[in-house]
Symmetry: C2
Subunit: 166 residues, 2 copies
């Protein structure tokens, strides 16, 4: 049962709708924001100084590198990452400018662009990969036990879907 106390002295674990966040709630919510920001900043900095890649461009290259066909549509990339389609389009612009990928026109769909790694992109990915994975493990995964990671995964899945139905 959730503790819903309105106007008590401060022992409430959960606040009602308009109440200020309780310490418990603050810890979970602000903690998420701060932990994410810290973590991303560290990992991004690591990739950037060592390999000139942002975290999101790494993710894009990595998706391309493991894609079975070796090339992906913009929308496919966007769906698999956290970027909007337009954001991904611009990211691909930058990757093209840096010579890491090429845009190819799509055979089956004249609207489409397909994106593929260049040799240079493949090399950059390979160079960055091990170090980045080690970073992720050192800064994040390594700080939790297996069952904690499992539990965390479960937490995340509860946030995802929603949509909007009541």
């Amino acid at each position: 049962m959730q503790t819903k106390v309105k106007g008590d002295g401060g022992g409430a674990v959960r606040g009602a709708d308009g109440d200020p966040l309780t310490p418990l709630e603050l810890g979970a919510w602000r903690g998420l924001l701060r932990a994410h920001a810290d973590l991303v900043r560290r990992l991004d900095a690591g990739l950037r100084v060592s390999h000139g890649l942002s975290l999101s461009s790494y993710e894009a290259l990595m998706l391309l590198g493991t894609s079975p066909r070796g090339r992906m549509r913009i929308s496919e990339l966007s769906g698999a990452t956290l970027l909007s389609v337009s954001g991904m389009s611009r990211m691909v612009d930058r990757l093209v400018r840096d010579g890491l990928v090429v845009r190819e026109s799509c055979e089956e769909d004249g609207r489409g662009a397909e994106v593929a790694l260049t040799p240079s992109g493949r090399g950059r990915l390979r160079a960055a990969r091990a170090a980045h994975l080690a970073d992720v493990r050192r800064e994040f995964l390594g700080r939790f036990a297996d069952d904690e990671l499992r539990e965390m995964s479960g937490f995340w899945s509860r946030i995802e879907p929603d949509g909007r139905g009541a």
Copy 2:
């Protein structure tokens, strides 16, 4: 003990340094990224359409609203949020432009600027507050039990400090 199997068929729960992330690791790591992105996007959108505030400007106004002296230094605001000092300086620019806060020169320190809510800023904050807190509870806090939130807080605190010592 952590399962560290190198080169097995796919049953590994944890990978070694250079290995690709296992499903367990992926679930926790990508899940964090996605959950955060989804959550922030939803809350930001809610605040923005209803009250013309971004999540970070809400946080700044909220800090000002609950500050004992009613006004705060730029660096104080920056330290309490996730923005750099220069980022906060620009955010204050926007808030000033929108008439929600004022910059006052600081009595004790001639370099300093102090930031204080205007009546309009106070009003905007009050108008946004309840709806935003309800959003946070609906989209995030409400999906977890008390002890889960407590556990989550514990997780966050393990990411924070580090520094760099081995």
